[in-house]
Amino acid sequence: MNAEVILAAGIATGTILLFATIGEILTERSGVINLGVEGMMFVGALAGFRVGIEAGPWLGLVAAMAAGALLALLHAIVCIRFQADQIVSGLALTFLGMGVALVLGDGLAGSASTSALVPTITLPLLSQIPFLGPVMFTNQSALVYAGYVLVPVAALWITRTRPGLHLRAVGEAPSGADALGIDVARTRYRYTCIGGALVGLAGATITLAVTPGWYAAQTTSGLGWIAVGLVIFARWDPWRAIVGAYLIAVIRRLTLDLQGPPDLFGIPNPFFTYQPSTFFLNMLPYVIVILVLVLGSRSARRTGGGAPAALGIPFVRGERGQ
């Protein structure tokens, strides 16, 4: 039970949630809600693992992003072209993604060889910083550092660039954006696919970095759905997403560490002496997600929650939103 070890491991797991949450934030900012995160993550995890053991980790990551983007494209076609219900399409994507990943991953179960792993890096100067150094910059996967970079990039992209302005316009007021000559459909296609690629990357982060290997149906263990919840907690803001992602991941990690020692603070550890009680520990991350959403709801209501105004509403030129 070393705080630095737990936090470092939490940040590694949090990177999975971070990629997925940022991806879903970008998708939803364009007005498309994609609940298929768990499915895309699953397929990304498989694609990354499978290509990773064949052709090395970097091509694995590329394959995972391509797979995630491909599934997202399907969602985009169904929702934008056919104007189908985005909620249900996302659910269908979850089923499809899990099914496809289980079919293609049949017989693959097992852990990855180290040659297939994304390398870990210790940053020379930053790792010397007391506490933060060992937690954030020592022996972390290259993907963790990519996560550090992704947050400011995504935040600045959304709020400070012209394409980001178009993205927000399409998500908040598609008719106005259309009148200004912004191609609403194309923008939504683009960001749905970018979001899917990031979620696919999150999947590969599981199988090629954090818990290397393919564990069939247990591979994602609900992380995709937690990411969907984190988007609401983050109020569609990448900066808040990093807080939520790391927080939930540290709690998940803590629940594992609490099961180890026979004594906790001088008293017999109930989770060690009576194994079934560990199931209550396993509930904790999911309870926390609900609690966080409840606690956030009051301020979210006051500020309108931060949800893009056109979220989930198909855009048809010349028609009012439903």
Binding site: L74, F82, Q83, V88, A92, G222, P276, S297
Partner: protein, 370 residues
């Protein structure tokens, strides 16, 4: 090109043009559903062919393994029974555009509540089944309703998104049942409880084999009848009562419902209670009618398949019954299909095709000359 329609393809001498439909003929929803299912069948077949299976052989296998004889038909109906309840649970909530994705968790809680009657035990041993079974039914409904109600209350009181809460509650419910079957109710350290005594079993057809000999081996249980009764009740509630009208109005136009003075928060909680109770019944009938004990992982995702069934049925309770039987067959046959992901994949494809085919409800496609 603007979003969605119209479709224009100029490289052909004839093209397809879409125009907005002003009215929807009565036969159309069924026809588009048929189109959607057909496309789903073709895509699934193509995918099966790609991974090296013979699609016709798989289809034949599914049909024979699930509807080929009286015995397997009975097994199909056993699988379909929990699907009918979860399908109804989803249909009720979805009709109001309330996205209860938590039927799986509510099912687990319902199974737990019903099992508690036997395993705590809440009734002395040797009580008549005419008392035990109704008490189990009530406890199953209450436990499921509680689980759905939590999400409903959080939505009504705090405006928390019900998709997330119901999903998180799924994971919590599964861990909760695991605690009991690994811990206090474990039989000899295995992850299952002891078998229920006979008075806690729902009667099955095979129990009457001494009267009608052909019933021997047929495991269809009373849960099927309860499911059909529930379908009738749900239909009546949604289409013939004031509350049902309010639910439909909120689903179609929440703003109009609000201005009409309908208490939306109260209706959200009520619908989540009913939806959770129905899913709880799925769990109760499954442990009491089929599994006869509480065990870890006794549901192969009945709650999630309920989502698809509700959609296939277009939220019609009687359609739920039909769709459940079809999916019951798929699940029964799917147990033997390898790799294990195929049923889930097919379910996803079916759902995609069905919701995509809805575009034909809104647009009329015409072939035009260029």
């Amino acid at each position: 090109m603007s979003a969605g329609m119209p479709v224009r393809r100029h490289w052909l001498p004839i093209g397809l043009e879409a125009e907005r439909r002003l009215d929807t003929p009565r036969w159309l929803p069924l026809a588009t559903l048929g189109v959607g299912l057909l496309v789903a069948l073709l895509i699934s077949g193509a995918l099966l062919a790609i991974i090296g299976a013979d699609p016709l052989l798989v289809l034949r296998h599914i049909l024979i393994a699930s509807f080929g004889s009286l015995g397997v038909l009975s097994d199909t109906l056993v699988k379909a029974t929990p699907l009918m309840f979860t399908g109804l649970a989803c249909a009720v909530a979805f009709r109001m555009r309330l996205w209860n994705i938590g039927a799986e968790g509510q099912l687990f809680l319902g199974a737990w509540g019903a099992s508690a009657v036997v395993l705590v035990p809440m009734l002395p041993a040797g009580v008549s089944p005419f008392i035990v079974v109704p008490v189990m039914l009530v406890c199953g409904i209450l436990a499921g309703a509680l689980w759905g109600g939590i999400a409903g209350w959080l939505k009504a009181r705090f405006g928390v998104n019900e998709i997330i809460t119901t999903l998180m509650l799924n994971y919590i419910a599964i861990q909760w049942v695991r605690f009991w079957v690994f811990g206090p109710w474990s039989e000899g350290g295995f992850q299952l409880s002891r078998q229920f005594p006979r008075e806690a079993w729902l009667p099955r057809l095979t129990d009457f084999a001494s009267v009608v000999r052909d019933f021997a081996g047929l495991t269809v249980h009373l849960g099927l009848v309860i499911a059909i009764v529930c379908a009738v009740l749900v239909w009546f509630w949604l289409s013939r009562t004031r509350t049902g009208y309010e639910i439909r109005l909120i689903g179609d136009n929440p703003r109009a419902a609000h201005y009409a003075g309908i208490d939306i928060g109260r209706t959200v909680i009520l619908v989540m209670l009913v939806s959770g109770g129905l899913a709880g019944l799925a769990g109760m009938t499954e442990v009491s009618g089929s599994v006869h004990r509480l065990q870890d992982g006794f549901s192969p995702g009945y709650g999630f398949t309920g989502v698809i069934i509700a959609y296939l049925a277009r939220f019609n309770p009687f359609g739920v019954i039909v769709a459940s039987i079809a999916f019951g067959g798929l699940i029964l046959a799917g147990r033997e299909i390898q790799p294990a992901g195929i049923p889930s994949m097919i379910q996803g494809i079916v759902l995609f095709c069905v919701i995509s085919s809805d575009v034909l409800l809104r647009y009329r496609l015409r072939v035009v000359r260029r």
